[in-house]
């Protein structure tokens, strides 16, 4: 493994690539897993997200050993479901966050959480580079806004995203200055509309 030299210098700020015209490094790894079943890239994803997922799960109340077991489950799901990853609509970190959240719900409730209808990429469609770029730019705006929050504000978010926060307390998140940015992210809404219209055809 040579993950050390594969990491860009900007690791501290969450793999923001300096070059704003390409997806983040983890997203590139995930695409390599999706398109070429690339095991080296998969292990790089594991090196990056494994310890972070473990930390998140421990925050959510799991013990060390169970947290590692769940990380294994999550990474296996990443491997098996990589074909469903769509770089137009998510970065690797958001997609993997969702898988981990679903696994946590599944374990806590002993039933899998509901998932919306999948939106399949239309057969033979080419990657839409401007769309992927726009998503990356919006995501990095959100990351910068996150860095600008006070520790208390960031803590509320981490509680909500990593721990069990009663939904009555979720409203504490609403007042955060991120709301405006979040609501501006349309994530290729036009593309979604197109895909959904196809799905709705009888």
């Amino acid at each position: 493994m040579h993950h050390g030299d594969a990491r860009p210098a900007s690791e501290e700020n969450g793999f923001l690539s300096n070059d704003k015209t390409s997806p983040t490094q983890p997203t590139l790894w995930l695409l390599a897993v999706r398109d070429r079943r690339d095991r080296t890239a998969f292990l790089q994803l594991f090196d990056h997200f494994g310890p972070r997922l473990k930390a998140m799960l421990i925050r959510g109340g799991l013990r060390d050993g169970s947290a590692e077991d769940v990380v294994q489950d999550v990474m296996l799901t990443v491997w098996h479901k990589a074909a469903q990853f769509d770089a137009h609509r998510a970065e690797a970190s958001a997609w993997i966050y969702r898988i981990a959240r679903n696994r946590r719900i599944d374990l806590a409730r002993r039933k899998p959480p509901p998932e919306p209808d999948p939106l399949a990429e239309p057969e033979g469609s080419e990657p839409d580079a401007p769309q992927i770029l726009a998503l990356g730019q919006e995501a990095s705006m959100l990351r910068r806004a996150l860095e600008a929050l006070s520790p208390d504000q960031a803590k509320v978010l981490e509680q909500a995203y990593f721990e069990d926060l009663p939904h009555s307390r979720i409203s504490e998140m609403t007042g955060l200055p991120l709301g405006t940015i979040k609501s501006r992210i349309r994530l290729g809404l036009e593309r979604l509309r197109r895909d959904l219209k196809d799905l709705r055809q009888p």
Binding site: G14, F15, G50, P51, R52, K54, A55, M56, R59, A67, E68, V71, Q72, H80, K81, R89, A90, E91, A92, S93, A94, W95, I96, Y97, R98, R101, R104, I105, R109, K111, P112, P113, P114, E115, P116, D117, P118, E138, A139, L142, R143, L146, L157, E158, A160, Y161, D164, L165, P166, H167, I170, T174, G179, S183, I185, L187, L189, L192, R193, R200
Partner: protein, 211 residues
């Protein structure tokens, strides 16, 4: 398909994305996201934030051997079977709650039918079938109620709700939804009060006898 005009509130969407919404409500939200592009984009924006938080959390080292264990598991595990898919008017989350089977309706009287999909301490989920032009008896509930239209429409004091629309009702709303004249209305409803079957059915039936 007419435009969806009644959406999921920010508060409920955040609770859904962060995994803090009880099961019954999260099925309604997932079903709405299956039908509503705008809310799906909002949910995905909230997931980007989840990813950003994951990216910046202080890592906790994995034990030695974790990588070898993962590689061995890649060889040993087969991909999970495909989840239950949407069918007809029912998006995938509803078909999953139905266990992949068509609804098994129970008559409630007055042509109204229902199927309980789940009921636990945190809430209950059911499908309702209301004949065209028929009103569901006035009801109050112990807390939050989310109702998603899957077929037809209904109207009440809060407005008209068509396919994909969600009504969010709290304690304060005393509503009496009436199905549109265009055909039977089928909706998915979640409440956070546990259902008490014996008490509930007579309570539903009682006003019907007076119609």
């Amino acid at each position: 398909m007419t435009e969806i005009t009644h959406h999921i509130s920010d508060h409920l969407l955040d609770a859904y994305v962060t995994g803090n919404l009880p099961h019954a409500f999260s099925v309604v939200v997932a079903a709405h996201l299956s039908l509503c592009d705008a809310c799906r984009a909002r949910a995905e924006a909230a997931e980007i934030l989840g990813g950003a938080l994951l990216d910046r959390v202080a890592p906790s080292a994995m034990s030695s051997g974790a990588k070898e264990r993962l590689l061995a598991a890649l060889e040993d595990t087969s991909p999970p079977s495909a989840p239950i898919a949407r069918s007809g008017i029912f998006p995938a989350p509803v078909m999953q709650a139905l266990g992949g089977q068509p609804p098994k309706w129970r008559m409630l009287g007055g042509g109204i039918r229902q199927q309980i999909l789940s009921a636990d301490r945190e809430g209950s989920l059911r499908l309702l079938y209301i004949p065209a032009g028929r009103a569901v008896p006035e009801h109050s509930h112990g807390g939050l109620e989310l109702t998603l239209v899957l077929q037809g429409s209904f109207s009440d004091s809060e407005g008209r709700f068509g396919v994909g629309d969600v009504e969010t009702a709290g304690d304060e709303i005393d509503h009496q939804p009436m199905a549109g004249m265009e055909g039977p209305c089928i909706c998915l409803a979640a409440t956070d009060a546990p259902l008490r079957f014996r008490a509930m059915i007579p309570r539903l039936l009682q006003p019907l006898f007076r119609i």
